[in-house]
């Protein structure tokens, strides 16, 4: 009996109390999708406002709240949990030939923490003295002084972090303990390597933001004074602590996305992945190096020059393992028989958009240019290329790739292509304009704009409509497939990793008998030795 039907009634209660990793993955998918759309809605309102240079649609204070909430929801409730929580939960155990994660009950608990944190975050909008208006970074001293509901929002982020930590602990332990017979480290699918690397960032970096956010709460509640310059405190130390987590968090978002793309490309190129070990170790290298670059967010904050030079250099270095991946993906495509199925198209779009995001990142990592670009729309454009163009598109690619396996239904590929065209066009209009606007000097988070920026603001807003139209088509197509889709085959794409040996949808126990692995994953021609 498949995991969807098991546990009797199949009512909501049997889902939210299930310790089955597949069900938990689907539960995350449901929550994440809901929050994603809330934040998309907020984004659309913000873009709408920018159709006018001055007072329009929402007040300036409401605009501050909108970009804060858009950021908090998108970052803490969509992109950070994103691929690990949904696809990591669903596929990590399957890909290594296990029946579940190491701590199934802890896994369920982490979902409940996520739900609790999300409810608190939403509550912070509608209760108390008003929605937080600090930006998602909660920088002191403003976050200590504003009268809005910052404490609750910050506590929500703390609880969401706790959920992320528990997931990380679970995945690391699972990879160490539950690999099936013959599944050596170098036979693991590369998505597993990516999620494993991510787990380490989650475990080692998340507690730092936890304590930082707690300090903000304590400061607001009791006035302990640790970030108050009047008492000798240093607001820059807040920024250090904040980015020690929040920069690696970028890699929590992007590394599993890279992992998913690494699964998709060999399947649709019908070739074994090029440079298996290079990709595997570059995940670890990104996790390690990416933890040591945080202060590049603070170049204009008045930190020491020597430190700025070191952090700038390290920032450039992260490009190396990232480029290793891009080159290996490209090399995998070479001489492959490429099948441009929707999942593949979205995965390749990821490579393209992520490359733009990555290269613009190198530019702003240069100390001189950073002074010009800091806190402008350039930055907003850059990180949307990474988070949306990167993680977002990889998320859609993964969903297109694994949807038939997860739900046992096949979707119609055509609307997925239309959606892609709309999204690709809209995306580049929206965020490409932002890059240019930023270079021209448009500061981020500003309510009003000067006349010379108006045309590009209108272009960006029109782009946002195309982007959302594409998203609607994409999600509508998924919903339709859930209800009316044809039953999916067990291996619709000709994939060679373990999940494709299972029925679609998989059995509650995953494997009737645990598999024995004898070779490398992606065993297309030419074979590579394990």
């Amino acid at each position: 009996m498949s995991y969807l039907e098991k546990e009797g009634s199949g009512g909501l209660w049997s889902w939210v109390t299930s310790t089955d990793h597949k069900r938990i993955g689907v539960l995350y998918l449901a929550l994440l999708t809901a929050f994603f759309w809330v934040a998309v809605g907020i984004g659309i309102v913000m873009r709408f406002k920018q159709l006018s240079a001055g007072d329009f649609l929402v007040s300036a204070q409401a605009y501050n709240a909108l970009f804060t909430v858009h950021g908090v929801i998108m970052i803490f409730m969509f992109v950070i949990p994103g691929l690990p929580a949904v696809f990591g939960n669903f596929f990590l155990p399957i890909l290594i030939g296990a029946k579940d994660v190491a701590f199934p009950r802890l896994n369920l608990l982490s979902w409940w923490f996520f739900l609790a944190g999300a409810c608190l975050a939403l509550a912070s909008l509608f209760t108390g003295p008003g929605a937080p208006d600090t930006g998602w970074t909660f920088y002191v001293p403003f976050s200590l002084r504003t009268g809005t509901n910052v404490s609750l929002a910050v506590f929500a982020a703390f609880v969401l972090g706790l959920s992320s930590i528990l997931t990380g602990i679970n995945f690391i332990t699972t990879v160490h303990r539950l690999r099936c017979e013959g599944m050596t480290w170098h036979r693991m699918p590369l998505f597993v390597w990516a999620v494993y690397s991510t787990g380490w960032i989650q475990v080692l970096a998340t507690p730092i933001i936890g304590i930082t956010l707690l300090l903000v709460i304590l400061e607001r509640a009791f006035g302990i004074g640790v970030f108050d310059p009047g008492r000798g405190g240093d607001p820059l130390l807040y920024q250090h602590l904040f980015w020690i987590y929040s920069h690696p968090a970028v890699y929590i978002m992007i590394v599993p996305a890279m992992g998913a793309v690494t699964e998709i490309i060999p399947t649709f190129a019908r070739r074994c992945i090029f440079g298996y070990r290079a990709i595997a170790y570059s995940s670890l290298a990104i996790a390690a190096l990416g933890s040591l670059v945080w202060a590049h967010h603070m170049f204009t904050s008045g930190m020491a020059d020597v430190a700025a030079v070191v952090f700038s250099l390290l920032t450039f270095l992260v490009a190396v393992p990232s480029a290793i991946k891009v080159f290996n993906w490209t090399a995998t495509l070479y001489k492959g028989s490429v099948d441009m199925a929707p999942a593949m198209l979205y995965a390749l779009t990821f490579v393209f958009l992520f490359s733009i995001g990555g290269l613009t990142g190198i530019m702003q990592g240069a100390l001189g240019l950073n002074v010009h670009l800091h806190d402008t729309y350039w930055i907003v454009g850059h990180f949307h290329y990474v988070m949306f163009g990167g993680t977002g598109f990889a998320f859609f690619a993964a969903l297109l790739y694994w949807f038939p396996k997860m739900f046992g239904r096949q979707y119609d590929p055509k609307p997925a292509y239309y959606a892609w065209a709309l999204m690709f066009l809209g995306f580049n209009m929206l965020y490409g304009s932002m890059l240019v606007l930023g270079m021209m000097g448009m500061p981020r988070r500003y309510y009003a704009h000067l006349p010379q920026f108006h045309t590009l603001h209108v272009v960006a807003t029109v782009g946002s409509w195309a982007l959302v139209a594409g998203l609607v088509v994409l999600y509508w197509n998924f919903l339709r497939a859930l209800v009316f889709g044809k039953p999916a085959e067990s291996d619709p794409w000709g994939g060679k990793t373990l999940e494709w040996t299972l029925a679609s949808p998989p059995l509650a126990e995953n494997f009737e008998t645990l598999p024995v692995v004898t070779g490398a994953p992606y065993s297309y021609n030419p074979r590579t030795p394990a």
Partner: protein, 200 residues
């Protein structure tokens, strides 16, 4: 490689250690802040530290170190099949944790009586840096105290489970993990002692 997660002894221990790392990093953020501020205000930290009782800090250290010994003895006892003895050691560990908390409460109480508490007028009037010292002192010992409290609760439950035989020789990973938690709380205190009480 084992089949089912729940009976995986090594897996449970890896999971616990990973959790301990998160505790380490949680306090690590505070240690980072402490070292940063101490380097910015060495004199003020030196001066403010004189306001803390070395005696109370040291006694509490000895209490916690001893409780850690008891926790380790409890594990050895259960591993060797002496359940009753193990339950006793576990209970004593929790009891010493309570003693620690009592001393801590007394110490905080004395500070409060003298008008030194987070955000008090007196602390706000202190010279630059000294207020920071007390802010960090209350935050770090407070957070540590919460961990001790959680540990006391955990170990009390463990004492019961060991007594009932739910945790016994051959299946004692719960006690082992609880002891690991207790030791890490101890390790953090080992660092707090010189940072706050001996900085004068």
């Amino acid at each position: 490689m084992s089949e089912a997660g729940h009976s995986d002894y090594q897996g449970a221990k890896i999971g616990m250690w990973l959790f301990l790392f998160t505790e380490l990093m949680l306090f690590g953020g505070l240690f980072l802040l402490y070292s940063g501020y101490r380097s910015l205000h060495p004199e003020a930290f030196h001066h403010a530290s004189q306001g803390l009782s070395v005696l109370l800090g040291t006694v509490n250290t000895l209490v916690l170190l001893t409780s850690s010994l008891f926790a380790a003895l409890a594990l050895t006892a259960v591993q060797q099949g002496r359940s009753a003895e193990s339950a006793r050691w576990t209970g004593l560990t929790a009891a010493l944790g309570l003693v620690f908390l009592l001393i801590k409460a007394f110490e905080w109480g004395m500070k409060f009586l003298h008008g030194i508490y987070p955000g008090s007028a007196l602390v706000k009037a202190l010279p630059q840096g000294e207020g920071l010292f007390f802010g960090l002192y209350f935050t770090m010992t407070g957070l540590h105290g919460l961990h001790v409290l959680a540990g006391v609760a955990l170990l009390s439950v463990m004492a019961l489970l060991v007594r009932r035989g739910t945790v016994a020789q051959g299946d004692c990973v719960l006690l082992e993990n609880s002891a690991l938690y207790w030791h890490i709380v101890d390790v953090i205190w080992i660092f707090l002692l010189p940072l706050f009480y001996l900085a004068a």
